[in-house]
């Protein structure tokens, strides 16, 4: 058994990312029924509502509306998954877990990195689930389109992981997703994920360009629309900077006040 000796000789722990932490975080996320409802079930239902009836209508460039809406809703699924995962810090703060972690060598940066990695894992699950549902519903695309669109939706969700962290550090609420869920639906609508921006009208079409889901949606659909605009990348980067900056600020405020 142990004895408490050699107290002075101990070396400090590195406090970096470790696989046990990451693995337990991922398990927690996948076991959470509410997250699965938000990230897999709801986008699937939206696909059946918005996409299925007119999936065989053609867009001007010859691609089907089904492809368009499937990719859009995949972006929506990934962003919901990542936001939800990031916002879990609100629950952990409320339960005093963040404070408990401050009694371990874990570095704050490592905690954030693990949260981001877990968020990306969950959004990957969301992307794959959404694509499987689409494929089963009869949407067909070239392999490289599946791959490119999927990668953009997946990696783009990092923007929303940062949003989740931001809001999670800002609000003490246990039910942060009940506020974020509807907010994300509005952002998705404004960003053209539920219906094409072209049919939204001039005013909303103009507003859409400045909302956080717009750039990722346009980029993810780029393989089927054949369009590209550097402004979309600017949109993504600006929102990423805003959310990461906000999260960092809220995090610092949170650790100072005890």
């Amino acid at each position: 058994m142990s004895q408490t000796t050699a107290i002075q000789d101990r070396k400090p722990s590195a406090g970096g990312i470790n696989s046990t932490f990451l693995w337990i975080e991922i398990k927690r996320m996948l076991r959470n029924r509410r997250t699965i409802i938000f990230t897999v079930l709801m986008p699937a239902i939206f696909f059946f509502i918005f996409g299925l009836s007119n999936k065989d209508q053609l867009l001007p460039n010859g691609h089907s509306y089904g492809q368009y809406i499937l990719i859009s809703l995949t972006v929506y699924a990934a962003m919901t998954a990542a936001t939800g995962a990031g916002s879990q810090v609100a629950v952990e703060r409320a339960q005093g877990w963040s404070r408990q972690l401050r009694l371990t060598p874990l570095l704050p940066g490592a905690y954030i990195a693990v949260k981001a990695a877990a968020a990306l894992t969950l959004s990957l699950v969301a992307v794959i689930a959404q694509f499987i549902i689409g494929a089963l519903a009869g949407v067909t695309m070239d392999p490289q389109i599946w791959l490119t669109a999927g990668l953009v939706a997946w990696l783009g969700s990092l923007v929303f992981a940062a949003l989740g962290l931001f809001v999670g550090y800002l609000m003490p609420s246990q039910n942060v997703m009940q506020i974020l869920g509807p907010a994300l639906a509005i952002l998705a609508m404004l960003g053209g994920l539920f219906m094409p921006i072209e049919i939204m009208g001039d005013t909303f079409g103009e507003i859409a360009r400045f909302t956080p889901a717009y750039g990722i949606g346009q980029l993810a659909r780029s393989p089927i629309t054949g369009e590209f605009d550097a402004v979309w990348i600017v949109n993504v980067l600006v929102w990423l900077a805003i959310f990461v900056g906000g999260a960092a600020m809220a995090f610092r405020r949170d650790t100072k006040r005890v």
Partner: protein, 309 residues
């Protein structure tokens, strides 16, 4: 092992807005001591513990743990704490919680060993949210043991536990402390301090009002209190009193806490103009109340300060 103190706190002050929670607190805890940090709610116990753990920074003053900053001691796994509430994830199992905590340290005790010592190996696969308050507290204890810390800090660890849970919890702590670990626990239960600590530090209004062995505190408590009306002109005669634990003079009344009330009474009646004498027996509860209660106008003297420095 060298003789560096487990805790050395000097001149700690901490305010929250207008509330001056800790006011010039000095505390040195040597390795191997089991210290009760005893005081009523709001005495500044938790604020002091937070500063020892580096969870908050003192406004002025300094804290070192094994000669290092609190954060450096935590990074080396030298100090761990059992908090009163919170600090657990509800959606994972008892074993996962300990595994997760262990993963933060570069070296740690085996998970099953720690669960056994906290007495929760049999519920290792239970979800945290399904555990009783006492089981959750023993889980916090298990998490604190993971890094095999030289110093264990417990903040009101048995709040909300039933009698059996409290007894089980303390027997686990006690078995552990017998291995040489330094333990400091905050409590407002007098019996806990008496039963489990070999040194009691009484705090009130953010400062230490008494500091001594449990036996000394008991002595203080087992004596008697002599009260008498004393003409102000006779005040200097109090210097000739037989040795007493504490002497207070307030509004014409003198109060003497002493283990030898007979000598005190004899002295007062023979050598001073004292009258209206009363002699009452103390108990531990009374000593605690006397030392920690709000008594505007009186200035309570530290009872055993000289014994400890």
């Amino acid at each position: 092992m060298t003789d560096v103190p487990a805790i050395q706190a000097e001149g700690l002050h901490k305010s929250f807005g207008k509330v001056h929670a800790v006011r010039g607190l000095d505390l040195t805890v040597q390795q191997g001591e089991v210290v009760a940090f005893l005081g009523p709610n709001g005495a500044g116990k938790t604020t002091t513990i937070d500063m020892i753990l580096g969870l908050s920074a003192p406004d002025t003053g300094s804290v070192s743990v094994f000669g290092r900053t609190p954060r450096a001691a935590i990074a080396r796994g030298q100090v761990a704490a059992v908090m009163q509430t919170g600090g657990l994830l509800r959606d994972i199992s008892v074993r996962e919680t300990v595994q997760l905590t262990a993963a933060m340290f570069d070296s740690s005790r085996p998970v099953d060993e720690v669960l056994t010592r906290a007495g929760i190996l049999d519920i290792a696969d239970r979800k945290v949210e399904k555990c009783s308050g006492g089981q959750q507290q023993r889980l916090r204890f298990a998490m604190a043991l993971v890094s095999d810390p030289g110093l264990l800090i417990l903040d009101e660890p048995t709040t909300g536990m039933d009698v059996a849970g409290r007894r089980d919890f303390w027997s686990a702590i006690r078995a552990d402390a017998s291995r040489g670990r330094t333990v400091i626990f905050a409590t407002h239960y007098l019996e806990e301090a008496d039963a489990y600590a070999d040194r009691i530090v009484l705090v009130r209004h953010g400062t230490i009002v008494a500091d001594g062995t449990a036996a000394q505190v008991k002595n203080l408590a087992s004596g008697r209190t002599v009260r008498a009306t004393l003409p102000p002109g006779d005040r200097e005669l109090l210097a000739g009193l037989p040795p007493a634990a504490a002497v207070d003079y307030d509004a014409g009344r003198v109060t003497v806490r002493t283990a030898d009330s007979d000598s005190v009474v004899r002295y007062l009646l023979n050598n001073t103009g004292a009258h209206d004498l009363e002699v009452v027996a103390n108990n531990l509860e009374e000593a605690f109340v006397a030392l920690t209660a709000d008594e505007p106008g009186t200035d309570t003297q530290p009872a055993f300060e000289g014994d400890r420095a």
